[in-house]
Symmetry: C2
Subunit: 344 residues, 2 copies
C-alpha cells in the first residue's frame, strides 16, 4: 500500500496539494509544470495526475478544469509528504508576550488561547478546558455576610474555590453553621467530590439533624461538583474563518456556526477524535455528514502527566495542515506551562 506511489507521483501529489491549499483553485498540469520544478512536461504530469485520480488521491470537479485533492490524498499528504512549517518567530513572540503579560485568570487563558489559534490559522479554534474528575474535598467554611445570609465557601485539594450565598434559616445562628462546618470537614476531607452524593451524605445529615443548614452546605458541594465535572468549551473568534474562500457563502457559514453552537455536539466530536498527541481527521473520515468538507486537528494537553483537555482547529479540508499542527503543538506546550504557573 505504501509502495503504491512512486517517488514522482508523490512529488506531483504534493505539488497539487501545496498549490491547492494555497490558492483554493483546482490545479492543472500547466500551472504545476510552471510553478514547481518537476522536471517533466505538462503532458507527463497529466498522465501522472490521471493515475493519481484513478488511485483515489485526486478528484475531478468536471471534465476539464484542474484536480483537487480527495480525503485520501490529504491523508497521504499529512502522513508523509507534509513539509515542516515551524511556527514563525514573530508569531512565537506575539504568543509569548501575550502569555507573559496579559494572563490573569484561568478562563482568560483558555479563551485567549482559542482566540490566538483562530487568528493565526484563520480557522475556527476550539479549546476544551479541563474536567477536574479527580477533585477532592479539602475544606468548607462559612463566612457571615449579614443578619440573615451566610456565604459558604468550599475548597478542593487543588485549591479550586466555590462559593454560594445561602439564607440563614429562621432560628438558626451563625454558630450553628460553624458547628456544621466542623462536622463536614471532619467527615469529608480528602473524599473525592464525586463520592459525595446525597446518599453518602445522609449519614452526615442524620448526625447533624438540622435540615436547612444541611441543605445549604449540600448546595455548595453540588455546585462545586457541577463545576468541576463540567468541561468548558471556548471557541476562538469565528470571524477569521470568513477569510477562507470556502466560507464566502453565508449559507455555509451559518451551517457551521449553528453546529458550533451545539456545545454537546462539539464536545462529543472532540472526544471522538481525541488521540494521544496530535490527531488529524480529514473530511469524510469523520463520521458526521455535517463535517464531510471539514478537517479537524486535535492536540491534547496534560498536567502532571494527566490528560486534561484538548486544543483543536477546525477548517475546510483545504487547510494549512503543517502550520496548524505546529501551532497546536506550540500552544500545547505553552498552555501546560502557563496553567502550572498560574495555579488558578
Amino acid at each position: 500500500m505504501a509502495g503504491e506511489l512512486d517517488e514522482r507521483k508523490q512529488r506531483v501529489l504534493r505539488a497539487v496539494i501545496d498549490d491547492y491549499i494555497q490558492s483554493a483553485e483546482p490545479v492543472g498540469s500547466r500551472t504545476l509544470a510552471r510553478k514547481y520544478d518537476l522536471g517533466v512536461s505538462p503532458a507527463t504530469i497529466r498522465n501522472e495526475m490521471a493515475d493519481l485520480e484513478m488511485l483515489g488521491y485526486l478528484r475531478h470537479i468536471h471534465t476539464s478544469s484542474g484536480r483537487i485533492p480527495s480525503s485520501k490524498g490529504y491523508r497521504f499528504y499529512v502522513d508523509g509528504l507534509i513539509p515542516p512549517a515551524p511556527v514563525g518567530e514573530e508569531e512565537k513572540a506575539r504568543i509569548d508576550t501575550w502569555y507573559r503579560t496579559r494572563v490573569k485568570r484561568i478562563d482568560e487563558v483558555f479563551q485567549e488561547t482559542a482566540r490566538l489559534i483562530a487568528e493565526i490559522t484563520k480557522n475556527v479554534a476550539i479549546v476544551l478546558a479541563p474536567q477536574m474528575t479527580q477533585a477532592r474535598f479539602h475544606c468548607m467554611q462559612f463566612l457571615p455576610l449579614d443578619a440573615d445570609r451566610v456565604v459558604a465557601v468550599l475548597m478542593t485539594d487543588a485549591g479550586f474555590v466555590e462559593n454560594k450565598i445561602v439564607h440563614m434559616p429562621a432560628g438558626a445562628s451563625f454558630s450553628d453553621f460553624q458547628r456544621m462546618s466542623g462536622f463536614i470537614n471532619e467527615r469529608l476531607a480528602g473524599r473525592a467530590l464525586s463520592e459525595v452524593t446525597r446518599g453518602a451524605f445522609r449519614e452526615l445529615h442524620e448526625a447533624m439533624g438540622d435540615e436547612a443548614i444541611f441543605d445549604a452546605a449540600f448546595s455548595v458541594i453540588e455546585r462545586a461538583l457541577d463545576d468541576t465535572k463540567e468541561e468548558r468549551l471556548y471557541l476562538g473568534s469565528t470571524t477569521h474563518m470568513l477569510d477562507q474562500p470556502e466560507y464566502h457563502d453565508v449559507e455555509r457559514v451559518k451551517e457551521v456556526l449553528l453546529l458550533l453552537e451545539e456545545q454537546e455536539l462539539v464536545k462529543d466530536l472532540l472526544h471522538a477524535h481525541m488521540g494521544d498527541g496530535l490527531e488529524v481527521t480529514i473530511g469524510q473520515e469523520n463520521g458526521d455528514a455535517h463535517f464531510k468538507d471539514s478537517s479537524l486537528i486535535t492536540a491534547t494537553y496534560h498536567l502532571h502527566g494527566e490528560l486534561l483537555g484538548t486544543l483543536a482547529v477546525m477548517g475546510p479540508t483545504r487547510m494549512e495542515y503543517a502550520k496548524a499542527m505546529s501551532l497546536l503543538e506550540y500552544m500545547n506546550d505553552n498552555l501546560t506551562h502557563v496553567i502550572r504557573r498560574l495555579e488558578w
Copy 2:
C-alpha cells in the same frame, strides 16, 4: 416640526417603513397601493412620496426603483408611528421556562439573555453586565491548602467572593496569615474596595511588617478590585444576524464582527447611547462612521434602584424596532428579577 406631516403623509411613511422592514426591498407606489389600504391611487402615493423625500424622510437609490426610509424617516417612525408589537406568548413562555429551569450561575444568566435576544430578534445582542462600583470590603480569610500554599478568600459586602492561591513565604507559618487576616479585617471592613489602594494600605503594611504576607493579601484585593471594576460584555449568538439580507455579503459580516471583537469600543458605544430607559439610535445619529448603516437599541436595567448595566440589540437600520423594543423591555424586567433571586 411635528406638524410637518399631515395624517396621510404619516400613513404613507408608515406603510413604506413597515413594508421595507419586512421585505428589505425598495418599495414603490404600486405595491403600496396594492398591499396597504391607503384609499388613494398609486399616482397620489407617488406625489406624497416625492414630498416625503423632499422633506428628508425617504431616500432614492437611483431614479426609478422605489423608496427606502432615511434615518430621519426611521426616527419619526420610532418616535410616533411605530405599531405596538408585544412579545409573543410562545416566546414569553420560552424565555420564562428558560429562566426558571436552566439558570444556575450569574454569568450564565447574562450569556443566555444575550443568546435569547439574538435568537429572537435575529440580530446581534449585547449584554453589559454590572460593574460593582460600590463594592465594599467585607472580610478576608486564609485557608490552608498544603505545606506551602494558602488560599486567600475575600468577600465583599454584596457577598461576592474572590480567591487566589498564594505561596507561603519561606519561614512563615499559617498562623502568620491568620494574624494578618485579623489585622486586615479590623482595618478594612466596610471600606470601599476602590479606596484600598497601595497607598492607603501602606499604613497597614508598616503595622504588619511581613512583606510577603502583605503582598499575598494585597494581590487578592487587587484581583477583586479588578473583577468588580470590570464590566463584562456578553455577545449573543452572532449567527442569527446572518439571516438578515444586509449581511448576505461576507465582507460586511466580517466588518461588523471585527468591530464587535473590540470590547472597549463596544463598551464605549453602549455607554454613549445608554439612556434612562429604552434608547434608540438610528444610523447616522451614531457618530461613528462604522455604524452608519446600523441601529442600536439599548435598555438599561436596575437593581435596588441602582443602574447596573445594559441590554442592547444592534442591527441594520432596517430593523424590527417594535419587536426589539418590547423584547428588551421584557428581558429587562426578567433580568432584574432573576438576578435578585439568584444573588450569585
